[in-house]
Structures are given as structure tokens and as C-alpha cells.
């Protein structure tokens, strides 16, 4: 399928000279992108690159079945261009973002609002969609919430208990990460990467490190790739276990809730055993890893991991064995497979709709080229399916970790990196625990970042949560929200 594309092809974690990326006038660019999306490609990134007086649009597509990525760009322009969203809704947030960052108007975009633009000390949310009618009432939740979570605003249009429409307004945590990266890499860059989304530290750090390595024309030593894969799965285990506990807590099922809260800590402590930080900060660096895992500590890790996995198995079994819990999750918050494909869901949310979509499998890079975890898929698209996919991934990541820890890669942990190649575009995808983490970097003539684009999986998936709520009882919003468990700061950047 991808063989006949006019797009430039490249593999995950590789780079391409900027001059080799095909450039078309914007109308042609939009038509070509729409054509590829119709043929089954997926939009990983769509962003603007300022060029002279105008701006170029760059699209990064993924052909999952062909294990390849494709890029193309438009010639510089300013003003308006035909919207891609009209035919391919997965582009809707990207186009809103491009308008906000570069002032390019997508003509025909059905809901053109700011994404995270500031208006004083709050985001410019604009007008919310309203449903009229005597029976309809509006419920506004947030940005300040009752629990200790990040800020975001949710606007529900309800008829009684039923939600007709949910609109999510974010941007409260916009820190200007992408802007800060221009002209980089700076001294602070690595720390910024590790805090793009604090619970996805390893995935974002690995994506950035991989990008730097491919810009330098090399890759990290095998032992570092092995260690990154282990840390990535530990991150997945900790977060998925925490999510299972949070789901149980939201339906007031105490046994699993209490146990999973504790076991999540056990998994975090395993990451701390590797690098001294529970969230894996300071482990992954361009060119390798900063902390080694000697055989003694690896053995200790394996032993503690097995205990924690057995505990999780038990806690999750209580959960699935309880009819009262299953009754709360089945047929609640359904996203249909066709919808999921249309809006470009990624990660467990997509796999819970029966879509086989996993970067570790579709676009393997690093250690995943040699050792793969099976993809966990469940049909249904409801809260039950999303919880089920998580519990399957806990099992499979655990199995994967046990196998990989028993067969470590030998060699150096870190290598010196050459300076980044000038005028080069590099793409790195990593399957974080929430889904596909996508980093794209474009260097200038001096080898500094001319543009650095980060797409957290939450950017794709927030729309999925809004769709899941349609026709669902408003009292089921918390379990729908937890079943996605998306990042606010990863979206707000």
C-alpha cells in the first residue's frame, strides 16, 4: 500500500534530509494527505514550520500494516487552506493547533477554536457547543476538581442523567515546551522531556534520545536499548496497575482499590531500584542510559517483580470475579471501532476497540526489534474492554520483563554522540503506557532544532473520551475518564 505513495518513506527512529521531503502547494498537499488517510494511513503529526514569510505544513503518517512512516510538506504559504478535518476528523485538533501557532486558517473546519491559547491567566476556551431545549441542562466541571488531579474543564449537555454532548477544554497547564525547545538542544532539554508528562517519563525521554541518536546517524548501544525497554515496561506496569485500582475506587470496590494502590508503589520502587527515581528520571540520555543494572540488582529486580506480579494477579482477579464490578463496566462509555479509527485513537483505548495498533509491534525500534510483547486487544470499546486490555497488558508486560531480565544484552551502556546532522528531519515513535508518543525534530543549518514537535497520546485520545460519553449517564463519567486516564500536561505542553 505504501509502495505507491508520493510521500517520502522512513522507518521509525530514522532521519531524512529536509530537502528529500516532497513539497507540494498546500492544496495538493492536503489532497495527497487525504488520499493516504483514505487508503488506511494514520495521522501521527501535522504541524507548521515557519519558512521565510510563510509557513510550511508537515504531515507525518503511519502505515501500520507496512511498518513504515511517511512524510510530506507543503510549500510555504500564509492565510487559508482547505481543511483536512472535513473528510478526516482525526486532523481536527492538529488544524486547530496550527491556526493557533501559525495563523493558518483551515477552510471548512467545523469547530475552529483555540487549543491551549492563553487569555490572561486562563485558556481562551471560546464558546461551548450548546444543546437547546427545556429539558436540557448544562453541567460545568472543573478546572478545579475535588480530587488531586490536573486542571481541565468539562462542559456537559445533559437531558436528565443522560449526557448528550461533552466538550473538553484544556490548556490550563500550557508551559511552552515546544517553544522552549527551538534552538536546542539546551542544557534543560532532557529535564523538560522527562516532564512533558510526568507519568510517561521513560517513553518521552526514550523518544527524545532516539531522535537525537538518529540525528547523529547512530543508535544507542544494545545494553542501553535493553534497559530502556525494561524501564518502559515497568512504567506501563505501574500506571496500568494504578488505573485498575482507580477504576475499582470509582465504583467503591475497596479490595482491588486498596491493593492496587499499594502494588503501584511496588512497581515504581522497581524503577527506583534501577535509577534511584520512582518515575525513571535521569535514566535515559541521548547516547545511552546513565545507570546500569548489574546482575545482582537485576536478580533482585526479578525477584521483587515476580512478587508484585503475583499480587497484581490476585487483586485484579477479585475485580473480574465480582459481578457487581463487571455490571458497572459493561456497555458503559462505548467507542465504536469505526469511530476509533476515524478519530485516530491510539494505545489501550484503540486496542479496546479491537484495533491492532501498537508501536512496539507496528513500528518496532530499539530493543523491540529483537523482542516483542504480544499486542493485547479486546473488542467492545467500553469501559470493560479498556480495563480488560490493561489487565492483559499487565500480564504480558510482566511476562516480557521476566524473559528480558533473564537474557540481558552485554556491552557498553553509553556512547558518545556526534552533533546532530544539519537540515534533517527525524521521527521517533514509542509506545508509552497511554499509547503512541511521537517526537519529530527538524534541524537548521547549524544542527540546532528549528522545530520540535511532541505529540502525546492524550492529544489523539481526548476526543475519544468525549465520544464515549454520548448517551452515557453523567454519573458514569468518572469511570469513563479513568478508563482513558489521559494526561492534561502532555496535551497542554
Amino acid at each position: 500500500m505504501s509502495a505507491s505513495t508520493p510521500f517520502a518513506l522512513l522507518a521509525n527512529a530514522s532521519s531524512l534530509p529536509w530537502a528529500e521531503v516532497p513539497a507540494w502547494p498546500v492544496t495538493e498537499f492536503v489532497r495527497a494527505t487525504a488520499g493516504e488517510l483514505t487508503r488506511g494511513a494514520r495521522l501521527c503529526a501535522l504541524f507548521g514550520v515557519p519558512d521565510g514569510a510563510g509557513t510550511r505544513l508537515v504531515a507525518v503518517l503511519a502505515f501500520d500494516a507496512d511498518n513504515t512512516l511517511a512524510v510530506a510538506r507543503s510549500t510555504p504559504f500564509s492565510g487559508a487552506y482547505p481543511s483536512l478535518t472535513v473528510t478526516h476528523p482525526q486532523a481536527h485538533l492538529f488544524e486547530r493547533e496550527v491556526l493557533e501557532q501559525h495563523g493558518l486558517t483551515p477552510m471548512g473546519h467545523p469547530w475552529l477554536k483555540p487549543v491551549r491559547q492563553n487569555n490572561g491567566n486562563a485558556p481562551a476556551n471560546g464558546e461551548f457547543f450548546r444543546v437547546d431545549g427545556r429539558e436540557v441542562h448544562e453541567v460545568a466541571v472543573g478546572p478545579v476538581h475535588a480530587g488531586i488531579i490536573e486542571p481541565g474543564h468539562f462542559r456537559f449537555q445533559c437531558a436528565g442523567e443522560e449526557v448528550l454532548h461533552l466538550e473538553i477544554a484544556l490548556g490550563y497547564q500550557h508551559r511552552g515546551v515546544e517553544e522552549a525547545l527551538t534552538g536546542g538542544p539546551h542544557l534543560a532539554t532532557m529535564s523538560q522531556m522527562e516532564t512533558v508528562a510526568g507519568d510517561t517519563t521513560i517513553a518521552h525521554a526514550t523518544a527524545h534520545a532516539t531522535l537525537m541518536e538518529s540525528l547523529a546517524g547512530t543508535e544507542a548501544p544494545l545494553r542501553a536499548q535493553w534497559l530502556r525497554a525494561i524501564a518502559l515496561e515497568l512504567e506501563r506496569l505501574a500506571n496500568h496497575t494504578g488505573d485498575m485500582g482507580a477504576l475499582a475506587n470509582d465504583v467503591a470496590f475497596l479490595p482491588t482499590s486498596s491493593a492496587c494502590g499499594k502494588i503501584r508503589g511496588d512497581f515504581l520502587n522497581l524503577t527506583a531500584l534501577i535509577c534511584g527515581n520512582r518515575f525513571g528520571r535521569g535514566l535515559v540520555r541521548p547516547g545511552g542510559c546513565r545507570h546500569d543494572l548489574e546482575p545482582e540488582r537485576a536478580a533482585q529486580l526479578l525477584e521483587r517483580l515476580k512478587t508484585a506480579l503475583a499480587d497484581t494477579e490476585q487483586a485484579v482477579a477479585w475485580f473480574w470475579d465480582s459481578a457487581s464490578v463487571r455490571a458497572r463496566f459493561e456497555n458503559v462509555g462505548v467507542v465504536f471501532p469505526a469511530q476509533a479509527a476515524e478519530i485516530g485513537l491510539v494505545g489501550p483505548a484503540a486496542r479496546a476497540c479491537g484495533l491492532v495498533r501498537d508501536v512496539r509491534y507496528d513500528h518496532p525500534a530499539g530493543w523491540h526489534r529483537f523482542a516483542q510483547a504480544p499486542v493485547a486487544v479486546w473488542p467492545g470499546g467500553d469501559v470493560f474492554a479498556r480495563a480488560r486490555v490493561r489487565s492483559l497488558e499487565i500480564q504480558r508486560s510482566g511476562q516480557y520483563l521476566c524473559e528480558q531480565l533473564a537474557a540481558p544484552a552485554e556491552g557498553d551502556l553509553r556512547s558518545e554522540l556526534a552533533p546532530p546532522a544539519p537540515d534533517t528531519l527525524a521521527v521517533a515513535l514509542v509506545e508509552g503506557w497511554r499509547g503512541e508518543v511521537c517526537h519529530v525534530a527538524l534541524t537548521d543549518a547549524a544542527g540546532r532544532f528549528r522545530r520540535y514537535k511532541i505529540i502525546d497520546p492524550s492529544f489523539h485520545n481526548w476526543t475519544g473520551l468525549a465520544l464515549a460519553l454520548r448517551g452515557t449517564a453523567i454519573s458514569d463519567f468518572p469511570i469513563c475518564n479513568k478508563s482513558f486516564n489521559l494526561s492534561y500536561c502532555g496535551f497542554d505542553l
Binding site: H137, E138, V139, A140, V141, A146, G147, E161, A248, D250, V251, A252, F253, L254, P255, S258, S322, S324, V325, A327, R328, V332, A473, I474, S475, D476, F477, P478
Partner: protein, 302 residues
């Protein structure tokens, strides 16, 4: 004089013992989860703290915002005073006092819902709507239970209705009344008293905007209501008529403790129901009480 002393003593028992129940429930939950949990007396500390605090008032709220919780608390305490206490019987017994009891509970509910809507918050309106819709079904079950007791004893006075040995439908009545107790007191599986998620709350969301002494009145009133239902359940079901007075007092206390621990266990081991399934369970409770009524009417006739 004796009457006044009797009333004061009863009032003291109800007001002082009631906050113990939520503490016991929380201890049971903590014990099941292998946690240490808050102290059994936590609610007393909370009430003392709230009583000393100031009140934050919405500029939109009418005096009903404060009056609602106050009236509700008085109504609940009044209802408690009507309830006979084992060997001590009742101080304010009269023919038809059971009707007054049911109406006092309804008055308390009305006042809480009224105060909830005072601030105009979408959350509290939602909570009030939920509370009154489920109350329709819970009240039906209570009325059926009271009728069955009334038919069984041929009386409409609480002292006579609750004092003799249990009727033939005691098991049905126990199941029905326990379910109503869970629903009326906003416990799992109907509501989650511990949740922080406004969108899923029933009772808790109605009192979100209350603070200080009014909130203390609401919390204390809720604990009195829990004790009231526990006492009602135990006396309606346990055959205590033949026991000596001390035995009756012991059996009553033990019964209330068992009910409280039962609530804690249900809360530890069961997930909450989805709202759309709540009516099913409440209707089941109503049917159980209705069958108890049938048994009392046809089966239990002497």
C-alpha cells in the same frame, strides 16, 4: 418531672451515641482492607471542629440555606425521640406516632433538598433530583414494612408494634429494611460516602456548599438517622419480647452493632450500583416488605 428527666436522658443517648456508628463502619472497612483507618471517634472530632468554624454563605442563598439543615436536624432528632428503646419503651408514645415518624423523615429530606437548591449549583440540583427520585421507592418499602408490623400487632403505635416477638415474615422484613437502611443512609451500593466525584454522588453532593455548624448539623443528623434505622430494624426483627429488661437492652445493643458491622462489610465487598439499577434493588426491597405484609396478614393470623 420524671418525664422531663426521661426525655433528657433519651436525647442524650441518641445524640451522643449516634456518631459512633459511622466510626465503627469505617473501622470495619479499614480492617477488611488491612489498613489502620481513622479512629472510631473521628466523627466526634469532626463535629467539634466544624462547630468552631465559620460559615461561608453564597450571596444567592436565602435563609433557607441555613434553616434547611437546622429543621432537618430537629426533625430527625424528633423522629428518634418517638422510637421506643427496648426495655425503656417510649416517652412520647401515642396512637399513630408511626405516621409522625415517617413524616418527620420526609420533612428532613425535604429540607435538605431545599437547602441544596439554594445556591443554584448544577451539582446540588442534580443530587437533590436523585435523592427525591430514589426516596419515592425507599418510602414505599418503609410504608410496606410499617404496615406489615401494624397488621401483625393490630396497632399503629410504635411501642406495641415493636415490642412483641417477631412475626412470621421477620426474615423478609429484615432483608427489606436492611436494603432501605442502606439506601436511606446513602451507603454502598446506593451511594459512596467516601467518594470525591461530585457527578456520582447523591447525598454528599447536596451538602457540598455547606460549611461550619450547618454542615455539623447535617453530619450529625445523618448519623442519628443511621442509628434510628438500625434500632428500627433490630426491634422489628428480633424476638425480644420475652427477655428480661437487661437482656433486651443487651440484645438491642448487640443487634445495632451487628447491623453496623454488616453495613461496613457490604461497603467493603460490594461495588456501587449504576444509577439505572438502583430502582431495581429498591423495588426488590419494597417487594420483600410487601411479602412480609402478606405473611403477617394471611400467614401470621392467629
Amino acid at each position: 418531672m420524671t418525664l422531663i428527666l426521661d426525655l433528657i436522658l433519651r436525647l442524650a443517648v441518641w445524640l451522643l451515641l449516634a456518631p459512633l456508628l459511622p466510626g465503627i463502619i469505617n473501622k470495619v472497612k479499614a480492617w477488611v482492607a488491612c489498613r489502620r483507618g481513622p479512629p472510631v471517634l473521628q466523627l466526634y472530632y469532626d463535629l467539634a471542629k466544624l462547630w468552631r468554624k465559620g460559615v461561608v454563605l453564597s450571596t444567592l442563598a436565602s435563609p433557607g440555606f441555613i434553616a434547611g439543615p437546622a429543621v432537618a436536624w430537629v426533625a430527625l432528632t424528633g423522629a428518634a425521640m418517638l422510637m421506643p428503646l427496648g426495655p425503656a419503651g417510649s416517652a412520647l408514645s401515642f396512637r399513630g406516632d408511626v405516621l409522625l415518624l415517617i413524616y418527620l423523615l420526609a420533612l428532613a429530606r425535604f429540607c435538605t433538598a431545599w437547602a441544596a437548591m439554594e445556591t443554584g449549583s448544577a451539582f446540588e440540583g442534580m443530587g437533590a433530583a436523585r435523592e427525591v427520585s430514589y426516596a419515592v421507592l425507599a418510602e414505599a418499602a418503609i410504608i410496606a414494612a410499617v404496615l406489615s408490623l401494624s397488621v401483625q400487632t393490630g396497632s399503629v403505635s410504635l411501642v406495641t408494634m415493636l415490642s412483641p416477638s417477631a412475626g412470621a415474615g421477620a426474615v423478609l422484613l429484615a432483608a427489606g429494611l436492611f436494603t432501605v437502611l442502606l439506601a436511606e443512609n446513602c451507603r454502598v451500593p446506593f451511594d459512596d460516602p467516601n467518594t470525591h466525584l461530585e457527578l456520582t454522588m447523591i447525598h454528599e453532593v447536596m451538602v457540598l456548599d455547606h460549611s461550619g455548624p450547618p454542615l455539623a448539623a447535617i453530619l450529625h443528623g445523618a448519623s442519628v438517622k443511621l442509628l434510628l434505622f438500625a434500632v428500627l430494624l433490630v426491634q422489628a426483627v428480633l424476638p425480644m419480647g420475652e427477655l428480661p429488661p437487661l437482656g433486651v437492652a443487651g440484645a438491642l445493643a448487640a443487634g445495632v452493632l451487628v447491623v453496623t458491622v454488616g453495613v461496613g462489610l457490604v461497603e467493603s465487598l460490594l461495588a456501587r450500583l449504576a444509577f439505572r439499577r438502583v430502582p431495581l434493588l429498591l423495588t426488590t426491597a419494597f417487594l420483600l416488605c410487601l411479602f412480609a405484609l402478606l405473611v403477617a396478614w394471611k400467614g401470621g393470623a392467629k
